[in-house]
């Protein structure tokens, strides 16, 4: 199957270099005999939220971890702010699907853990951590342990931790998949506010088309394994509108439908 | 009914003559079944609990305490032990004052001997540790883990061979006490007189044969195919062992005299409580079978 890269996407990757904070160049990845990713070329613009969307097993997590420097690519380069990186760095922070909270540590220690590793003094890192804990709406839970929180609250701890190290790029792998539908909707709205407020670059992986369209500035569709970029879509939705207005916006619905038609063939 | 014999040891070269005697009893129609157990205690326990008919060991302490009526009916061997010290540290009994020694087990003949000698020499040990198995103590001596202990004749030979001059054997006064004996429940003894007599006779005749000619054991081993898988080293050990042991084999099965000696010895050692003079032979021994056999084959 040839790599169908529509015109819109081609334009995109040609022009965005000016303000691309993350550049993905010819990334290929094999796990033994399994070819997970083939020739990925992408740019991610500063201050935007980009979503990776694609059928299960197409390599979304792999790509995100390669960008995070957690998984080495088989070939190709990742550049952050123009510099080639080969491992994790302070400009990037990862939010894990399973939260990756330390069960033996309080919320406060979990959130300040990134700073602890950097050697920030305790008073200072607690101050910063508390700020972000309140930012994600968990004030008062500082001394609780992860097992005392609900799934949604745990994920917020994970997000606060990523914020606390003040990275430019946040990488989120299906952050809401362990949260139930109704709370998820709430989260999406909260996330948009955070994006607005923190002005960071977000890379987001999800399975949900509505979620992708609702939160993203740009959506990268990946084809099934071996994952390649099959389409890049910019929803261009007016985010200043109220959530319910957005969800019945014609543009929004069109994009959802377009993506669904594209992915439908890959569903079982 | 089979005669169930509990042997608190494994079959080795040193028990060849006993094994041969048991085979002879079998030939005479006694269905002897031997079980080899970890220790004398277990053998005694087996007799007490009725799981074995005849036990082998020196169970004086047990006889005095146990509720079941157990009696000794034949002496198999006398204590043949050699107190030994590592000459790097000690030379004579006096040197052991305030020192640590190792013996077989609590209340055993070895402890009794060492205790007796301590009393005689007016010394006291700082500590007595219990190391079951003469060969283990021998090994421990050679390894330097034990500096003073008491070993059996094969241990003595090993020590003399492996490290000549390194160890000194301390002088021992007259010690005449039972090392191993046969014992059984009185009930069993009275109900199976014939079988018991056959066994006693087989043992006494074998003992006398070996005493007369220690090399007879080698012939006996071949005749009865005993210890078929013994290694050459073990076989080589037969002759010297019996050459030395033959002289001390009790040829008349102990009996009243042995009992008296034992009372003296074991009261001193502490295995028996009370005064030796107060102890009654019939509380410990059942002489019926032995006397009957001796009447038949005569004493030596």
């Amino acid at each position: 199957m040839a790599n169908p890269m529509p015109a819109r996407a081609a334009e995109q990757s040609g022009t965005a270099t000016s303000d691309a904070i993350v550049e993905v160049r010819d990334i290929c990845k094999r796990y033994g005999d399994i070819e997970a990713l083939r020739g990925i070329n992408l740019e991610f613009e500063r201050g935007k939220l980009t979503t990776l969307l694609g059928p299960s097993g197409c390599g979304k997590t792999t790509l995100l971890k390669i960008i995070a420097g957690l998984v080495p690519a088989t070939s190709g380069q990742i550049r952050i702010n123009g510099k080639v990186v080969t491992g994790p760095g302070p400009e990037r922070a990862f939010v894990f699907q399973d939260f990756a909270l330390m069960p033996w540590a309080t919320v406060l220690r979990n959130v300040s853990f990134g700073l602890e590793l950097k050697g920030v003094p305790q008073a200072e890192r607690h101050r910063i951590a508390k700020h972000y804990i309140s930012e994600v709406g968990l004030s008062g839970f500082e001394e609780k342990y992860p097992h005392e929180l609900s799934g949604g609250m745990r994920q917020r701890v994970g997000i606060a931790r990523a914020f606390s190290v003040n990275a430019d790029v946040l990488l989120l792998d299906e952050p809401f998949s362990a949260v139930d539908e109704q709370n998820r909707r709430k989260f999406q709205e909260d996330l948009l506010q955070l994006v607005e407020k923190e002005r960071k670059t977000f890379l987001f992986v999800t399975h949900s088309i509505e979620e992708a369209v609702y939160v993203s500035d740009r959506i990268v569709l990946l084809s099934p394994r071996p994952g390649r970029v099959s389409q890049i879509i910019e929803p261009n939705i007016d985010r200043s509108a109220a959530p319910d207005v957005i969800r019945r916006d014609k543009g929004y619905l069109d994009v959802v439908e377009e993506i669904w038609q594209g992915l439908r063939q890959y569903a079982e | 009914d089979p005669m169930r014999v509990a042997f608190g040891d494994i079959a080795t070269v040193e028990s060849l003559h006993l094994l041969a005697a048991l085979e002879r009893a079998k030939e005479k129609g006694v269905d002897v079944q031997v079980t080899f157990l970890k220790s004398e205690d277990i053998a005694a326990q087996a007799v007490v609990s009725g799981q074995a008919d005849i036990g082998i060991g020196g169970p004086y302490a047990l006889l005095q305490k146990v509720k079941a009526p157990i009696r000794i009916f034949l002496q198999l061997s006398k204590l043949q032990f050699y107190p030994v010290v590592n000459t790097e540290f000690y030379k004579e009994w006096k040197d052991l004052n305030g020192q640590e020694i190792a013996v077989h087990s609590r209340g055993s003949g070895t402890e009794a001997i060492m205790q007796l000698m301590a009393d005689k020499n007016g010394i006291a040990y700082s500590n007595i540790s219990y190391v079951p198995g003469a060969e283990v103590r021998t090994g421990a001596l050679l390894q330097g883990n034990v500096k003073a202990t008491i070993v059996d004749s094969s241990g003595k030979r090993i020590l003399e061979k492996e490290a000549p001059g390194k160890f000194a054997f301390l002088p021992l006064g007259e010690v005449a006490a039972t090392d191993e004996a046969l014992f059984a429940n009185t009930d069993y003894l009275s109900k199976n007189t014939k079988d018991v007599e056959i066994l006693v006779e087989a043992i006494l005749t074998t003992w006398r044969e070996v005493a007369a000619d220690p090399k007879a054991t080698i012939a006996l081993r071949e005749k009865y195919k005993l210890l078929p898988d013994a290694t050459p080293e073990m076989v080589a050990d037969i002759d010297p062992y019996f050459a030395e042991a033959a002289a001390t084999l009790p040829l008349n099965g102990g009996g009243e005299d042995a009992a008296k000696d034992d009372f003296d010895f074991y009261t001193v050692s502490g295995a028996l409580e009370g005064k030796a003079a107060d102890l009654k032979v019939e509380d410990f021994w059942d002489l019926t079978a032995l006397n009957a056999v001796l009447a038949k084959i005569g004493t030596k």
Binding site: P103, L117 | L62, Q143
Partner: protein
Amino acid sequence: MHMAATPHKVSATGGAGSGSSTIVETLAEFARRRKSFWVVLSLAILFTAWEIAGRVPISFAFPTFLETFAALIEMTLDGTLLPAYAITFQPLLIGVAVSAVLGIGLGIAMGLSDKAEWLLAPVFIVLQAAPMAALVPLVTFVYGIGLVAKTLAVIMLALPVIVLNSYKAVRHVNPSLVDMCRSFQGTRLQQIFKIIIPDATPVLFAGLRLGIAAGFIGVMLAELLITPTGIGDLITYHRSIANYAHMYAAVASIIAVSTITLAVLQYVEVRFLRPEKRRK
């Protein structure tokens, strides 16, 4: 190895009004609420059966429960039991301590390094599956009969268990926690001390507990096979002089002591190391 957790569940009962209840109902209610009821009941059943069997008697060498209990009291009061435990615990504690330090160290090394794993894991797998009892007497040849030999016997049994459990603990550390630490540029040392070891701690501790159980077996083997000291001496000595009640009392007490020790450790484990388990 398995060890079923037995949390003290007090199940709430609703619905049934507790107005006028008969003794049977109260008892049934108590049985439902309290695990200790069943503990007491099953102990009572065993002791009664023991007493009856002892009185029949099934053997002269089989004392009744009451005799045994009296012997236990006697040994406790006349001061033979405590010193015996003091002696038995020496090799046990030293052996377990050595095994813990060495075992957790080796286990963590094997968990962290493929080379160490390749070199050591098979050895310990074999040692754990092997009937070590056969080797205990050998120790005597080299290390004699003293504390060293017994400690070594304890180590021989406890070490493989602790090593293998520590190794598994490290291998089963949540990989996304390790990734998390890496993503914040944690150094390898930070990774090991801030993530891997804390995350493995509950399993390490469980391994330690199993190691202690094995250590008890080891010390008993040592005291029965090498030289009788401590509780092993009480068992062999009382057997040799036909004080079977005392012998049984010694056997029962060591089993009880080990069971209680392990239960306490398990409580500690659940109470302090597994907050998520405790809550349920």
